[in-house]
Symmetry: C2
DNA sequence: CAAACAGTTGAACATCTGTTCATATATAAG
DNA sequence: CTTATATATGAACAGATGTTCAACTGTTTG
């Protein structure tokens, strides 16, 4: 029973080599996984979800968001920083205000697809 | 200067009432935000992203995933629990093994859309 | 039955994360 | 220049989270 499973480096469990090979052939890079995780981590917080939803309705300044979410401008600003870092929002300064809006249509797409999943998750 | 902005409960900042009304009219529920955040939080971790990607290639048992990601079966199992809780994966027992696969097409859609965003985020 | 294998689970620990608070920057108004 | 408003930022603290370790359940095999 000389299988093609090399058990030299360490003891190998009884696995499914074909399936494993199939995954390995897909060439999924470490940094792609990291980037995806970082993006979703940014989306994975209710305050930031609320901010993004609000910005999907209208362009808003920090002050507006602060009132809408009933949170301090500081807290909002900290979250906007993360949203900016993940390229989920853009901003422009106008006088004393800084107006934020969604960066592109991908963001709304992610929110929509996520919402659909949550609905199915609960209804069906 | 009697504005329609009621400053009774607490001192109000100079905001943009029209934009705020626009957001409030959208009726975005608290539990929708929570559900979305929970979903994305589950997606927001590189180990889980790798698991989901692997499962998008083939149905796999814990053992396979353990070898693919070079992690202990325990660590994998803990993460699979979260993925199950968010209805991102299904599973079936077959003998000693438990095989996992993606729950529905939404999951791949989210991964695809996320990947596109990450690519744009870096290239452009 | 006992032994081996596959998977799950709870506790513990280190790390990460969101909000608060104080402070700093920037623009506008007096 | 001084004051007020709008926003940003760093430190700090409490709460959340991922992996490890040990113990446990369930299935197959001898």
């Amino acid at each position: 029973m000389t299988e093609q499973n090399s058990a030299e480096t360490c003891k190998r469990r009884q696995v499914h080599p074909e399936s494993i090979a199939q995954v390995q052939a897909s060439d999924f890079r470490e940094d792609t996984a990291q980037g995806l995780a970082e993006l979703f981590r940014t989306l994975g917080e209710s305050t930031r979800v609320k901010i993004l939803h609000a910005l999907s309705c209208a362009e808003l300044c920090v002050c507006d968001l602060s009132e809408l979410l009933d949170m301090t401008p500081s807290a909002i600003s900290h979250q906007l920083r993360l949203l900016r870092a993940s390229k989920l929002v853009r901003f422009r300064r106008s006088g004393k205000n800084v107006f934020y809006r969604l960066d592109d249509e991908h963001v709304e797409g992610l929110l929509r697809q996520g919402t659909e999943h949550v609905r199915e998750e609960r209804n069906i």
